[in-house]
Symmetry: C2
Subunit: 192 residues, 2 copies
């Protein structure tokens, strides 16, 4: 998606350790006009899929999932990290290792909001090694729901998450795929 | 807001310990059509304010903040709980005690996204004792930014957060204010 690639070129910052900082517009400050263009693009890419619910994970997936949901006219469910007293005991749970935070989270979804009748589009801001998406896929499988697709804002193409998910047959669409980035020059190259 | 009150009456569940569960439509599963009506209502209530940014806190404030931001045509910044390697060292920080989770969080906002030129509308899903909003107000004060208003989806009127904020002169608008709720009968009464 050209608009997004231009935004990443303009405002993304490459840091040591294969980190791309896009907190200017994606995951700390959020550019809602851009989110709307991304939401429309997700709808175009998954237009033929009978999506009845979008699933994401807190926190930085929630904004784009909500904006995109308007174009699908479906509700959003976000998986929660760690147990809350406001969640019923009746949950699906799994563990997800965060690339960014270098720790393992317990992640839960209430059984009330995910079931065999659901046709799920997963939406998340980043796909790197795929830990978050694989955790969400486990929750969907536990619920007996169907996966209609996986929509990602930025995929780090140097890491294996996207490749492995496509090999398993999932319909993965990433709005921008980073082919290469260089922390010394700040250069960011995209796969097309 | 009548539509919201009806939704709370229909799908809200009163639990022991003064807990109102609205995870059916607000803070786990999110009813995006309802969120759009709430976003329009926030715009109507703060139409005369020169808002240039919406500030919320992860996780459950993010969805309604993003949907509402479309009506104000401004970006959203969400305060983050605990330090992330993806946030620069240059942050404003405070501590917030969560009523729901019975714990204290470090909460941060990057200095890049909050400054003296900003006119902030705070949006959050719940207002009870006011810890989250007071934490956000501290961050705004540290940045030298202006507070244009505080928009809340559900205020628990039995707790003092809203009263104290209004006494301090803040423009607080809650789309629904709970006057009383009864865990035995499930009854929920609103303040008008």
């Amino acid at each position: 998606m050209e608009l997004l690639e231009k935004k990443i070129q303009k405002d993304g910052i490459v840091k040591a350790g294969n980190v791309l900082k896009v907190d200017h517009f994606l995951n700390h400050q959020m550019d809602i006009a851009l989110f709307n263009e991304m939401g429309k693009e997700f709808k175009r890419l998954f237009a033929d899929r009978p999506v009845n619910k979008i699933l994401t994970i807190e926190a930085s997936g929630i904004g784009i999932a909500c904006i995109a949901a308007q174009y699908f006219q479906v509700p959003v469910v976000f998986a929660k990290k760690a147990q809350s007293i406001n969640i019923d005991g009746e949950v699906y749970s799994t563990k997800i290792e965060s690339f960014t935070h270098k720790r393992v989270y317990d992640v839960i979804v209430s059984r009330k909001y995910l079931g065999p009748e659901d046709h799920i589009l997963i939406i998340d801001d980043f796909l790197a090694n795929g830990c978050a998406v694989n955790g969400l896929l486990e929750l969907i499988e536990s619920a007996g729901a169907s996966v209609e697709g996986i929509g990602i804002v930025i995929e780090k193409g140097q890491q294996m998450g996207g490749k492995l998910l496509r090999e398993k047959g999932y319909h993965v669409e990433s709005l921008a795929i980073i082919e290469h980035m260089d922390e010394k020059t700040g250069e960011i190259c995209f796969r097309h």
